[in-house]
Symmetry: C2
Subunit: 153 residues, 2 copies
């Protein structure tokens, strides 16, 4: 989906919930969609400020959950006391991550079987699945030995 379409979708989402379409919220949206990467809250604060200088850290932290709920942002938590946020152009939910512990990269991969798995597992327990997380943490031997690999430098 185009950024413009996502932008409109975000505005609609806010309107539907009787939330206000403020300059700060749109600056944070633009920051998140200006780069397809794994951004920290701080990354987004910096980038949002370069669009609208008045954006504060508090507003970023207050806005990220809203964008996450709208489905336009995916929250990626790889267990490092630090969350990453990824623009979610196509409302994808069947993603998994491979986290390289050596070159420190996060690779997004699709994991279509999660749809089936989470339904199976949850219904066995009488629960309704709402989200899942699937991650593989790995090492890059080449990077560790040579200081570079095909993923980073």
């Amino acid at each position: 989906m185009s950024i413009e379409a996502c932008r409109e979708k975000f505005k609609s989402f806010l309107a539907d919930r009787s939330l206000r379409v403020t300059g700060q919220r749109m600056a944070i949206f633009d920051a998140a969609f200006s780069e397809d990467a794994h951004n920290t809250a701080e990354d987004l604060l910096d980038r949002a400020r370069s669009i609208d200088e008045s954006v504060s850290r508090a507003t970023v932290y207050r806005t990220l959950p809203i964008m996450t709920e709208s489905g336009l942002l995916r929250e990626v938590d790889i267990g490092r006391n630090l969350k990453f946020y990824v623009a979610n152009h196509d409302n994808q939910t069947q993603q998994a991550q491979v986290v390289c512990l050596d070159c420190d990269r996060i690779f997004e991969i699709s994991a279509p079987f999660m749809e089936w798995y989470r339904n199976t597992v949850s219904s066995n327990l009488g629960l309704t699945p709402v989200a899942h997380r699937l991650q593989v943490h790995a090492r890059c031997d080449i990077f560790r030995e040579t200081g570079r690999c095909r993923h980073r430098n």
Copy 2:
């Protein structure tokens, strides 16, 4: 594996690494194995202190990574800025969690296909898998409506 066997295994692990077998470390071990539950560091501190009053928070935080590396403890991070620790009697690594967002429980389930999955995915990227995480977050409609479900109360 029996607690006693695990206890000996922990002592061997420490010895092999030239780490000392201290009263505090063993108290923390005993705290972790005294209850098969998802314990926070604070839970384990309380319990360890009831065994050996001198145990400090710092030592708990310094010991948990050692126990985790030994394979006798599993670290469970469900994305809440708070880690849980589970005694790992049988060196299990193919576990997944179902986290109920309503009754706030964590269910451990086995996910044997992860062995295959993590190998497949990592080798596609030229990486060596070292760990994985698989979680399904779910809601319990019955609990939300009635305040109780078959899992809690």
